[in-house]
Subunit: 280 residues, 6 copies
């Protein structure tokens, strides 16, 4: 079992509800889980740690409270930060902003780079950063009451922490992608499911979290070598030609097929029992 | 207000139905808005002009008349043009065709490169070039009576003005993409919506145009800096790796966050009023 | 008519049910059409031959018997093959596996590289290799009773014959893609259609095959030059930027528009009759 | 013979010193051929025209006078232009600059896109824009007295009209590339030749121009189809994988081998006489 | 020792002059080693076989006789082949040419894909195909008397078997690359060495072959796992971003460092003796 | 002046010999500056810190002592590290190696990502890691006595910390690149200069360091905005198409031209005095 003491952060509850399953809960419910800087820095730290934790094989990400997965950036706090800092001229300001954006992006990208799959459960308000984060996750589910919004144009900027870079690779209706990003209109789970932003919609948050945990447990029961490779190769291939994807897969599996897991998985399949795999 | 006199073209009506909103109407209804060469040359010219027009922040594109958005290439005219011109040999013919295709493509790509979002409303007949054009637009809507057709194989050629290059990046059902392009079968708005070619279907043309205008007005009410960046970054990211998209976004916003719009948008959000943004 | 004698293979029935249409049937129904090595080698050989056969313009791929399109790899046979072969050390084992995976991939990729469109009909069990193969086809249809499964993680490995490289380019719901690949859960035609893996679902296998043959015949009635170019350019563009796609299309058509088919197709369109095209 | 009257520009002498050979001379010698805006706009226009001129098969580019190929941007003029124009805020300024840079880049890139090869002769001062332009040419030669300088950092900016994008693809000593671009130090033809920036150094301008004309005449004597393809495919391949280059070459030549020139060239080779090729 | 009987071809002598070293000699000296179709088909077959031959770790490629490495395509034979074959129209001709070029390219690319390094020794006449072949090799050396020529424009075509795709990635003087390809002028080993086409020039053919054999023997004495990886990763990285290269290298070595060779090589280094490595 | 106290590391001397210039000296001369793990971790940390240090504008990297820049990996230490660690099976071993290689690569890549240019001075022994590191630097110089060696194949592995990914983008003689990497032969500064690995060779270490410092001081005297952009855009363009490079440059400079440095640099140029630029 992973050591909960390694994962103590003010704005996150990290628990281990089942064998090899981690649950990361954003925990600032009084502020609708809105993000201040320490929160994204800690998010990055948590997922970097989970990535190499041998006791973790799958992860769910949720938001505390009934009202919001997250309302996104804490605009009040942001209005006193980098965006408004002084600088000697436009180029120096640009340099400071570039460094700041890179640091912020890296925290979110830590979810995508995490070696373990991440299932995100969105409920209630899911604005702005909610989409940046969830698009860096592997599997997205939501609830009947989720209100999605690519909020950034409403505060005068193009979303720069990942939404615009990942949306066109995640959702197969390019017209819908542009519409929600350009208009910042609020939409619900019905549209999110229809157009491919989520793969399941559940009646309420409790059901959604339960189902996400079941799915996480199912994935955690598989060979961690197979699961890691599957996440990594899909991410790689998403961004490249099929020919490059095939070539990468071949050398990846040249290493990874040399695992005891294949024999164990085949044997347990024949024997109709659950295989036990070594830690990764 | 943009100057309507700058946009006088025989086969187009260009109007400005709301503040910062342009309406480009293809106007050759007696011929089902079928295209002759001057029409695509003018289309390119119009969108290049709109791109830098500070009085325009969003655009809708429609076809005049009840029967057709456009029936595509005017085949009769085309049969007397480049396709059948004489040349000394196959290579010289190929060189002439290549120049011709590039010129034609550039006119359509002007819509994609236009700094302002373009919403296309398709109705009635939407064949061939209708898809080339609409896929270069940002947002696609249609009506219950729209009849779509990737018509090109029916006249013996692979679509070369953009449909085949943009479809696989726009529609998330690769089987549907191949099916409609290889068979040239006619399909309706139900399939277009189901598989991701359009994001809304309306009862009739009037409703569709009204709704498109509303959406255009909504987008035009946002910061033009934010809207321009959102369009540009999505187009960039669609074609590249997520890592490249993130890097490009960082340097884009290093410049573009240095706008008064962010402060104005945040402030008007807090004050629950509509922000006014400078021209771009 | 293509010469059936050229296509004699133990585990395949290759027939020519209509003019210019080939039907490739996987034929090992007692083993649920599970694949042993000779089968994928022969599959590659068949599609390489069909690719250049002037008497073939479209192809359907099906599985014999009522129960399965294919259950995937014959695991029992596989467990005695490359995966378990001895080698002097990990690097030498990796080299042998890399060669083996490349050979296997090339057989499946032969479907994608085949100059003629391939329509796959899936029914009953469609596990593992069923997806690798069908994703290399151009058009995917299934039946009400089809049970799909990206089976590989269940046997301890990341799918390496094509599924992971092609899924993210074929299906426009990235969450669904990851979910089915990471969990190996079985899903039906309803989800396959909803999320974009297939473009049609039919009541039963007979209906599906009939409809696929009709579609194949429709495609076979078009200019083979136009159909070949359409398949090739979509495959090329799927993997590249729109700008690269447009450039490639221009030079492709610089050659291919120099065909008699354009004139014949235009003329037969005007005369409302079926054109006859020369062999390709 | 090309029509000289089509190429009348204040700051350029365009002549046709041999059959199928054009000579473009930058002509503002009193100002060391320094560039003001109209000059790069005209440069773009000239090369776009030459690209399709059937009477031109190769081009040389030189600077008038003894002292300079070009001293680069006319800094005095520039200091009153875009760089210092006012704008409402940093983002609007950035938008104006981006449009301006794109326009400027396109003029220089017209040389690269020109279907005919361009040989540049550099002599005397060759600073700043001299490198941007010459790197867009196909063949670079210089004289013993040429003084090269990547001047931009000396005026506080990173070269943005092409030098930084093309240098690393043109010169095979990455250390030298960085050194000259970061230090803005002046270097001579010996280093330019040693590290790969030019392929020939001549004693003086007259010799260099004479040799360039001879080379231009040699190229102009070849099949224009072969020469056009050779330029285009090298440019394409320079930027892409070898596999993509080979694929593009195959479809390019599928069209271009259908030329009478192959037969004429082969036959004249056997008969030891000069072939005459049709216009392109 | 490799089995010479496996490598019997009319126009090639394949010998094994040292342990783990193969020598492939093009053997049609009376015709200056000019190529007819069977020769490139056999060349492809030979290198595909050598690639997996566990008794071969490095290869040299030479031409028989004193006068020529190879004079390139046998133009007389070519003039009766594909280039002049009849076809129904331009598109069908293009399709036949495309297939032919792909087949030809694949034979040459077999050298590049061969898992073992290939050193080519050029002497005397080295025209046309000589460059296509040698650019697919890993190491190029020549003799004082070598006469190089990118001959293709002289017969009316752009080189399509690899020269134009590989030259810009092999030679670090882009001006020289264009000059030799556009002019088809003959050049010697001095320029070839100066501009980076070869890495050594020797006094005569005998010396060059001896030195190439020594280098081949040196390479063959190293760990075959290390040598294979070095060739493969350089080829991969040459065509891609540094970031992609690093990522690929990491997963490649994740497999390949699991070799006994590392321990054996380190130990033999310490003990100052020659290591013996297992077959690959 | 940068604060030396921020840069205290056991195996490095970091000094600031001139305004805005940092000097990083590898300091383990008794072991020929061979690397143990803490050294590359610290190297990464140092360059990450220098990257954002406003008091640093250029950097030189050298090795302490007369005998070696660095002999590369401390093989004795390495033989007890990751390479020989135990793991449950080949896939788990591969996973551990992949993580280890990524961590190591990131330390070296910190030099490339550093916003300030880095000049490396190599002298004496420069083996293995010496090349990985120096290829991540911007400018490479060496001394008459430098002995270079791509040492990795001698210890049974393909270089995985950067040499193989960066060499083909840095050196314009692909034959030389393969030769040195496949043979691990030692070569001197003459070949390094001839083939493009270094841009200057000096008589001895003292002269080389003095000249490097002069060059660093020259670069440090330029606008830091211009220098940063020049490094970044060349690195970006090296890996991408010219078209992508131009587009990136345009948006980069859209931000960065908004600097006071342009005006200051122009003015000081006219006034023939040294400009003073704000910190970056």
């Amino acid at each position: 079992m992973a050591n909960a003491a390694d994962y103590k952060y003010e704005y996150y509850n990290v628990t281990f509800p089942a064998e090899y399953v981690a649950h990361v809960e954003i925990n600032r419910p009084k502020k609708l889980n809105a993000f201040i800087e320490v929160m994204w820095l800690n998010l990055g730290a948590i997922f970097k740690k989970l990535s190499h934790d041998p006791n973790v094989r799958s992860i769910i990400l949720t938001g505390a409270g009934d009202r919001a997965f997250t309302a996104g950036l804490d605009v009040q706090a942001a209005s006193q930060g980098q965006l408004t800092a002084e600088a000697a001229d436009g180029a120096r300001k640009a340099t400071a902003l570039r460094r700041h954006i890179f640091e912020f992006q890296d925290c979110i990208t830590a979810i995508e780079k995490c070696e373990k799959p991440v299932i995100v459960v969105m409920h209630g308000i899911a604005y702005g950063l909610a989409l940046d984060m969830s698009l860096a996750c592997d599997i997205r589910v939501s609830t009947n009451d989720t209100a999605f919004c690519v909020k950034e144009v409403d505060i005068g900027l193009a979303a720069d922490i990942g939404t615009l870079s990942r949306l066109p690779h995640s959702v197969g209706n390019a017209s819908f992608v542009k519409e929600i990003a350009l208009s910042a209109r609020i939409f619900g789970s019905d549209e999110a499911l229809q157009h491919g932003l989520v793969s399941h919609v559940y009646a309420d948050k409790k059901t959604a979290v339960d189902e996400a945990l079941k799915l996480a447990a199912l994935i955690a029961s598989k060979s961690p070598v197979a699961v890691f490779g599957t996440k990594e190769i899909i991410n790689y291939s998403r961004d490249r030609t099929v020919a490059d994807g095939l070539n990468y897969t071949a050398i990846w599996n040249a290493a990874m097929l040399q695992t005891q897991d294949v024999k164990d998985a085949m044997m347990s399949g024949i024997q109709k029992r659950q295989a036990k795999f070594s830690k990764l």
